[in-house]
């Protein structure tokens, strides 16, 4: 798998038009960058000395389209003091706060619910906050999610993922909307159980990044979006007519039939959603309803 660094983009974001950095500014930036690397080297040396102690060795992918020295992707190495229970995210935060403040990655909840920090760790897609360092062999390689454009360091462009999620009309949209005061609807426990796993998705993008089909077909809806469609199609509260429309969406050329049941998405999903099973079930539903309407 490859990490995609966008082809040197034309430097024409609105920000730069408005405030093109002056020559002086560029010089200051450079001086600053140099001072920083010097300081960094010192720290790294200090660290090497400490290696005998309990530290973890991590290698982190670095790239910044506009900072000299980072335009060519590279790996930076950090030695992070190990404490019990330390996760990949903890190690990254430590490295950022103590060695290099420019180390960049998304994160927020620290508890596997916001879906911000899916990375490519030692060759597979994992949530940083949910992955114990102690379970990984050193040096731990941390890279951005493959098959997505890298914005900077470990940050990837999620727009395509969001577009696919939005493409399946991801909202409850029942056949009939009651007027006036709403009353509680009934739903059987079995039906709620049926959709439960599918509702756990945290939009982390790990599945999509692991999928060979998605890598080859940019328009493929991908496991997360299909799972989202499953979540609505299987919910008895929405109604039969809407379900048929949903099946049509996922049956399109770049929909469920693309899936070759390789299970890579299911393997990486941090919420243990049986994605491949859901895709298979939708295929069967689609066949059933096609027979019905023949």
């Amino acid at each position: 798998m490859s990490t995609q660094v966008p082809k040197q983009k034309e430097a024409e974001s609105p920000a730069e038009e408005e405030s093109a950095p002056s020559v002086g500014k560029q010089r200051r930036d450079q001086a600053k960058a140099e001072r920083r690397t010097a300081a960094e080297k010192q720290k790294e040396a200090a660290e090497k000395a400490k290696e005998a102690e309990d530290t973890y060795h991590i290698k982190v992918f670095r790239y910044d389209p506009e900072v000299e020295g980072k335009q060519e992707p590279r790996f930076d190495e950090f030695h992070v003091p190990f404490t019990k229970g330390m996760t990949v995210l903890d190690a990254l935060m430590y490295a950022r706060d103590h060695y290099d403040p420019s180390l960049t990655f998304r994160h927020s909840c620290r508890q596997a619910i916001c879906g911000s920090d899916a990375f490519f760790v030692n060759g597979s897609q994992k949530l940083g906050c949910k992955t114990q360092l102690s379970e990984l062999s050193e040096p731990v390689r941390i890279e951005p999610l493959p098959h997505q454009d890298v914005v900077k360091d470990l940050v990837v462009d999620m727009d395509h993922f969001y577009e696919q999620m939005h493409a399946i009309e991801p909202y409850f949209d029942p056949d009939e909307l009651p007027d006036g005061e709403l009353e509680e609807q009934r739903q059987t426990r079995e039906n709620r159980e049926k959709v439960k796993m599918s509702t756990r998705c945290i939009w982390c993008g790990a599945c999509m990044s692991s999928c060979n089909i998605a890598a080859g077909d940019n328009q493929y809806l991908g496991p997360a979006a299909i799972n989202k469609a499953y979540r609505f199609a299987m919910d008895e509260r929405e109604g039969e007519a809407r379900k048929q429309e949903r099946l049509k969406i996922i049956e399109q050329e770049h929909g469920v039939w693309r899936c070759q049941t390789q299970f890579s998405c299911t393997e990486v999903c941090p919420k243990d959603i049986p994605l491949t099973e859901h895709i298979q079930e939708l295929k069967r539903e689609a066949v059933k309803s096609n027979l019905k309407f023949w």
Binding site: K25, K32, T104, H107, I113, C114, Q187, D235, R237
Partner: protein, 613 residues
């Protein structure tokens, strides 16, 4: 510059509900959020959402419980608005497809929660917030509201009249995280702040890294008072190593707390002889720390929460997520061993002063959700009462900002009603007079040539924010994380569950020192692309202002009420302290004043009673 009728800052439960409501009123609405909506911390809520849905329950009982839980510092009009509207709003969520847990008869499940006289905490497993957040985001997608995600709001564009009550908010200035563009967002009708809590002012917290109280700090600096900031909820059951929350739902379902000696201390040591583990959160947190302080803690740090006796089936059915959290973040299997827990910062009861329609004293500026204080929670929030607040008050703020008619508010904002000024007994100079880079220390921007129209004020604010960023990027200095981590440690040490005068004063000295050091922070990442170093440096400034507000309020309030306990006065003193703490930013330093609590409800007056569980 971008322009919309209503600009909602933040996309957690409160922001999403506000945006949907404003859109339904026909307004042109946009959300500006530093995180993509589904990343918001509302997703972390576990236990449930309170609503009086059943015949045997009533909104009046819910209101009574909430007022009692608040230790009589909630305002009756806000509490009654919450409790009356929550059932309707929860059913609305159900119609939007939210995957609530279900009973045999197909109705939504409810469970007991601390401080509630009826099991009215409606839940979706132990992942209620996740289900709520995603359900609302789905409806947002359906409604077509424009979302500017990963745009970090830096400041409000507020006019600079002498009195905050005469000021107007015209929009916000935001920074595009991906490109580094700084731009104005003009709001024709109003700005709604829904930026969540300030949990990162503490180092052991259940809150996300993004919970830095930005909206509160921005409103404060624009002259809007912060209300009851000293009331911080410490949740009794967070995991010791990370602060990850173990939901109150565990105790609601029958989970038991034990000390190192295997005693069920909530009963055996008499902390709450009736309700035991299900006493209000402040009571349980203090009990745990007392156990630890008296040498009955495990590893001198925590106590045990045991749910094994509930049985695997029930646990998996109702608390499955808890098993994952305990396993992933503490390495403990909740089915075979008790879980270690200790108190952790969890929720801010106080916040931006609003009335029950979500409006602040600055016209065109609204706030809803955890960042706001209406006040529903008073001195202590009951579990399961924050999520209904998001949807009830988010909706009201959204409707109101979009121009819908709501009844006139009973709560007054700013210094419009009765109030009394007070002195702050601080050992050090407070605040940040003439703070660096701000256009005007006291909120408000001044446009060139003194123009006062909204566009000019917004332009002037954009210019000031750009200058501030350039300055942070160009200077050399120390890294903000040192300042932030010292601040967090001091807050956790001195402004925790137990508070005493000396400690609080020590905290104020530490904050002063942190502020002084902050004067020489610099951003070392020179990049315009996704510069999180820059944004976190800016957030740290917000944390400084809020930590100070929390501590000033705590030092001044010499009584024990709800979550606020003082060594010097271990009793609730209604004669003197039945009033809201208000802090206004005045020429760069905090001014302290108080306003009365409203205990008169629509049909009855809530008489302060002894709060025992």
């Amino acid at each position: 510059m971008y322009e919309h009728d209503v600009i909602v800052v933040g996309a957690g439960g409160a922001g999403l509900r506000a945006a949907i409501a404003a859109k339904n009123e026909g307004a042109d609405v946009a959300i500006v959020s530093k995180l993509h909506p589904v990343r918001s911390h509302t997703g972390a809520a576990e236990g449930g959402i309170n609503a009086a849905l059943r015949d045997a329950d009533s909104w009046e009982d819910h209101a009574y419980d909430t007022m009692k839980g608040s230790d009589y510092l909630g305002d009756a009009p806000a509490i009654e608005t919450l409790c009356k509207n929550s059932p309707k709003e929860v059913i609305q969520l159900e119609h939007w497809g939210m995957a609530f847990s279900r009973e045999e008869d197909g109705r939504v499940s409810q469970r007991p929660f601390g401080g509630l006289s009826f099991p009215r905490t409606t839940y979706a497993g132990a992942e209620t917030g996740h289900q709520l957040l995603h359900t609302m985001y789905e409806q947002l997608v359906k409604s077509g509201v424009q979302v500017y995600d990963e745009w970090h709001v830096l400041n409000l564009a507020v006019s600079d009249e002498e009195r905050p009550e005469d000021r107007t908010c015209h929009g916000v200035v935001a920074y595009d995280v991906q490109s580094g563009e700084v731009s104005g967002f003009r709001a024709r009708n109003g700005v709604i702040l829904a930026t969540g809590g300030p949990g990162q002012a503490f180092d052991h917290t259940t809150n996300a890294v993004s919970c830095t109280g930005d909206g509160q700090a921005m409103a404060y600096r624009a002259g809007v008072p912060l209300e009851d900031m000293e009331f911080i909820q410490f949740h009794p059951t967070s995991l010791p190593s990370t602060g990850v929350l173990i939901s109150e739902g565990v105790r609601g379902e029958g989970g038991i707390l034990y000390n190192a000696e295997g005693e069920r201390f909530m009963f055996e040591h008499g902390y709450a002889n009736n309700d035991g583990e299900l006493a209000s959160r402040d009571v349980v947190s203090r009990a745990e720390l007392t156990e630890v302080n008296e040498g009955r803690g495990i590893e001198d740090e925590y106590v045990h929460l045991d749910m094994r006796h509930l049985g695997e089936e029930r646990i998996i059915d109702r608390l499955e997520n808890i098993l994952h959290l305990a396993e992933d973040f503490e390495g403990v299997d909740g089915l075979v061993e008790p879980m270690p827990v200790k108190p952790g910062q969890h929720y801010a009861m106080g916040g931006i002063e609003t009335d029950e329609n979500g409006e602040t004293c600055v016209s065109g500026l609204y706030a809803a959700g955890e960042c706001a204080c209406a006040s529903v929670h008073g001195a202590n929030r009951l579990g399961g009462n924050a999520l209904p607040e998001l949807i009830v008050f988010g909706k009201r703020a959204g409707k109101h900002a979009a121009g819908a008619d709501l009844e006139t508010a009973k709560i007054t904002t700013g210094k419009r009603g009765e109030y009394e000024l007070a002195e702050i007994d601080s050992p050090v100079e407070l605040g940040e007079p003439g703070s660096r880079g701000d256009a005007v220390a006291d909120g408000g921007a001044v446009a060139e040539g003194g123009a006062t129209d909204g566009d000019s004020i917004l332009e002037a604010t954009v210019t000031a924010e750009k200058a501030k960023i350039e300055d942070l990027l160009e200077r050399d200095g120390i890294h903000h994380s040192e300042v932030r981590s010292d601040l967090q440690k001091s807050m956790t040490r001195y402004v925790n569950v137990f508070r005493e005068e000396d400690g609080l004063k020590k905290a104020l000295r530490d904050i002063r020192e942190a502020r002084d050091r902050y004067q020489s922070v610099a951003v070392s990442d020179p990049s315009r692309t996704f510069n999180t170093d820059l944004l976190q440096t800016i957030e740290t400034q917000n944390l400084l202002d809020l930590a100070e507000a929390i501590t000033v309020g705590a030092l001044a309030r010499k009584e024990f009420r709800g979550a606020h306990w003082r060594a010097e006065a271990q009793e609730r003193l209604d004669d003197e302290w039945l009033k809201h703490t208000m802090l206004s930013w005045n020429d760069g330093s905090p001014e302290l004043w108080y306003k009365p609590v409203i205990l008169e409800g629509e049909e009855k007056t809530y008489e302060p009673k002894i709060r025992s569980y």
